[in-house]
């Protein structure tokens, strides 16, 4: 397979040389910022629940 064939078959963004180059950070509007703060609050509630469930199950298993 020649280099030309490879270049024809792949879109530029599919080639390794481009595929691993990052997109820039997104500028977040206030709505998205608010959603992410809600998500932080959700995580703060969810993580202790997960830990509690795991410990409880471990104790029950023991």
């Amino acid at each position: 397979m020649t280099q030309d064939e490879i270049l024809r078959a792949l879109e530029p963004a599919q080639r390794s040389a481009q595929k691993y180059k990052p997109y820039p950070r997104r500028k977040l509007g206030w709505r998205v910022q608010a959603l992410l703060w809600l998500l932080r609050a959700y995580v703060l509630v969810a993580v202790p629940l997960v830990v509690y469930a795991f410990v409880k199950a471990l104790l029950a298993g023991a």
Binding site: Q3, I6, A9, S16, K19, A57
Partner: protein, 452 residues
């Protein structure tokens, strides 16, 4: 680059290609075949070439714990409300997974790397860590399913789990996405074993038609047990690893915008086949409902197979046990790969099943280490496997909300999506499903933690 997408990766897209890699060459080979087939207008062949990620993700989610959940549903409620409900959950799964196909073809980036790049390291590491942790525990439950299936056939745990590890590692050793995918598709066809098992249960066609038409009956009515099973079946259909896996697989396979119709069809076919397998599992286990079998004492899919033997015969029970084992094996392969993609994408390491071991040491290393770790845990004598299984359900459901929120944010990011960004109707349908699944997941998590 995607049409109308205004944003380019930081260093631009128009540079001449530099050193072509093994990954480029193998992907280009697959793409040339696709381009040739499209120009010849051989549509079925084109679908065959482009199908894979959608079917694999849907059948991969019909994993060990999911099939146990469907079997419990059949044994608890028989043929009734849950038959159309399962169809509805797979329709929801299609809507969610279709978004990942669009993200993949529009950006040629995996889900984890998009979160990292667009929302920053905090959310990038968070998404990766919760996925990899959840996947690790889920992987343990898949090897529990493999072990349980092996025990049904009289194999010692070390033999069945060792064989499972060998298959997972051998698939990675292929170092070729297209081959890996076809091998996995062949194995995933084993999910259909539940269909002959269901036929051997001699289901009442009229009862099935009645259930589909009326969403009933619902023996026992609404109860906590019913709600838990309802939510467990939702959790058995849409989970975070599916989002990460399908987007990365679409990118690794090399799908482009032109392939979007086939990508959607692939996902729809996968959802349909997986729904049929899930319903077949409910139907196969339904005879246990009439007998009021003590399913609360069952700890694995193999217990269902043993209990079903006098009802659906030795062949039916064997098919059921084989299906359970296959479900664990296929899920172990897809879930470990999902962790690999997420980890490597987040730390900006190379990530593709077309890489050689040296270039893809982080990628393959993550799958190998997580597979060996999960298998090792299952083989530890007196390991708290039931505790791990319960925790997996809680963690997966509680962490569903963040995954779905980032999916919706990314698919609305017009800078990277261009004209493939969600429209109003898509946002309405997707938003309602995401809110519903996130709430259901939260309720399920709370019910598991505080059952009373």
């Amino acid at each position: 680059m995607s049409d109308n997408a205004t944003l380019m990766p930081a260093n631009g897209q128009d540079e001449p290609a530099q050193a072509l890699t093994r990954e480029d060459i193998l992907r280009a080979r697959d793409r040339l075949e696709v381009l040739r087939t499209r120009s010849q207008r051989r549509w079925l062949r084109l679908l065959w070439l482009l199908a894979g990620p959608g079917v694999l993700v849907m059948l991969g989610e019909n994993d060990g714990p999911s099939m146990v959940s469907y079997a419990t549903t059949g044994a608890s409620y028989g043929i009734g409300f849950f038959i159309p409900f399962i169809l509805l959950t797979f329709a929801m799964a299609y809507v969610v997974q279709e978004m990942t196909v669009r993200l993949g073809v529009a950006t040629h980036r995996g889900h984890a790397e998009l979160i990292f790049q667009r929302f920053g390291p905090f959310w990038g590491y968070f998404a990766m860590a919760d996925l990899v942790f959840g996947n690790l525990l889920t992987l343990v439950t898949e090897f529990i399913a493999i072990q349980a299936g092996g025990l049904y056939f009289g194999f010692r745990p070390v033999v069945s789990v060792g064989a499972g590890v060998a298959v997972v590692l051998a698939s990675l050793a292929l170092r070729r996405y297209a081959t890996w995918e076809r091998v996995l598709l062949a194995l995933a066809a084993g999910n259909l074993l539940f269909i002959p098992a269901a036929l051997l249960a001699h289901p009442d066609g009229a009862a099935l038609a009645h259930a589909l038409g009326t969403w009933g009956p619902l023996p026992g009515g609404l109860s906590t047990g019913f709600v838990v099973l309802l939510l467990a079946d939702i959790g058995a259909t849409v989970t975070p690893w599916m989002i990460f896996f399908q987007q990365s697989a679409v990118v690794d396979k090399g799908l482009t915008r032109a392939d979007l119709p086939q990508g959607r069809l692939d996902t729809a076919i996968g959802a349909f086949i997986a729904a049929m397998a899930a319903i077949a599992t409910v139907v196969a286990a339904a005879p246990l409902h009439a007998l009021h079998a003590p399913i609360r004492q069952f700890v694995s899919g193999a217990d269902f197979a043993t209990a079903l033997q006098p009802l659906i015969g030795h062949t039916g029970a064997t098919l059921f046990a084989l299906g359970m084992t296959e479900a664990g094996l296929v899920a172990a392969m897809t879930i470990s790969t999902s962790s690999s993609y997420a980890l490597a994408e987040t730390i900006s390491a190379r990530h593709s099943l077309n890489l050689d071991f040296r270039s893809g040491r982080w990628f393959y290393g993550a799958a190998i280490v997580s597979t060996l770790f999960a298998a090792g845990i299952v083989l530890i004598p007196h390991a708290p496997l039931l505790a791990l299984t319960l925790s997996v359900n809680v963690i997966a459901t509680l962490l569903m909300a963040p995954a779905l929120l980032f999916l919706l944010l990314l698919v609305n990011d017009a800078e990277i999506m261009g004209d493939l960004a969600n429209r109003r109707l898509g946002n309405l349908a997707g938003g309602l499903i995401i809110i519903g699944i996130a709430l259901a997941g939260a309720v399920y998590g709370v019910l598991m933690v505080f059952p009373t």
